[in-house]
Amino acid sequence: MKRALLVAAWLIIAAPALAAEIPLGERKSGYDLMGPDTRAMQDDDTANPGMLWVLDGEALWNSKAGAAGTACADCHGDARASMKGVAARYPAFDATLGRPVNLEQRINLCRVGHQQAAPLPYESRDLLALTAYLAEQSRGAAIEAGIDPQLEPFVAKGRELFMQRQGQLNLGCANCHDDNWDKRLAGSAITQAHPTGYPLYRLEWQSLGSLQRRLRSCISGIRAQAYDYGAPELVELELYLMSRARGMPIEAPAVRP
């Protein structure tokens, strides 16, 4: 009895310190928090600069690469059919590596393994273009990432990192994106960390960028040492964020301010 009371007391004390996750009904995409001009830009495929990368990606999909001399299309056929809904499931569990890989890593695994080509560097124009082209095939599809039971420990690790305070400012992701998403930071909306539109065109970047680029700049923002591109921690964080957004539609390539 005494023990139960102690636990109850601990729960009452600890509860405010634990960041509350956003209830399902209150989930928003960054789209819902941005201005009408930026929304109009995303909605019109001839005004959305992300579509320029999609066009490049389509060309790359059909062009031969590597020592094997094969194009993505030689195995996968028409991406419009074969890649529909695929991006909505990433990061996904890779049985050979025994851990989750994101879409960029999957493209590079395919390049190295099947096309016998050099992996494309992170944030390179070609990798962003291919990722954007694949993600665009899932536009409107509900996010399903993290359903695979094998991913459970990795989602948990990602969540842990999301809650973990770090850096000189001693902030965790949750301190802004769970607790203060309805406020503004330096005039910009604080979003809910639902990565529905990646890779996306940020007006600030004047370029397309991946979710990992976004995460790394957020981590630098709290003055912590950012993980390298492709680091397992970033993939786990990506996985947790995508599983938070489960059921929300893919918007890629989105436009954000």
Binding site: D44, D45, T46, A47, P49, M51, L52, L55, Q206, S207
Partner: protein, 106 residues
């Protein structure tokens, strides 16, 4: 050649005011930035944009280094007759891009 996206209505009534939108892929490097090696990154921008309606110039723009990457133009014209609307972008280092759209006016 750089990707360009143009949006011209396929059909319009004679005398109707139509909106034309164009988007072109370009870095628009200002020439004022310093690279990681400490040297200035040379200027590389689009300098001119021209739109012609059946060969007649209807819109022209001069571009400068302060214009963002992937310039987007939107402007209006009066649909006078069926035909083609052509777009041309010219820039530094011999950059050229062209695109054409057709319009049916009834």
């Amino acid at each position: 050649m750089a990707n360009a996206l143009v949006n011209v209505p396929a059909r319009a009534r004679r005398g109707e005011i139509i909106e034309i939108k164009t988007l072109i892929q370009h870095e628009m490097e200002t020439g004022y930035r310093v690279g990681t090696n400490g040297n200035m990154i040379p200027r590389d921008i689009i300098t001119d944009f021209v739109c012609k309606y059946n060969g007649e110039e209807i819109f022209r723009a001069d571009l400068f280094p302060a214009i963002a990457a992937n310039p987007f133009f939107t402007f209006y014209t009066v649909a006078t007759e069926s035909g083609s609307i052509s777009f041309e972008w010219i820039g530094d280092n011999g950059f050229t891009a062209a695109e054409t759209a057709t319009i049916t006016v009834e």
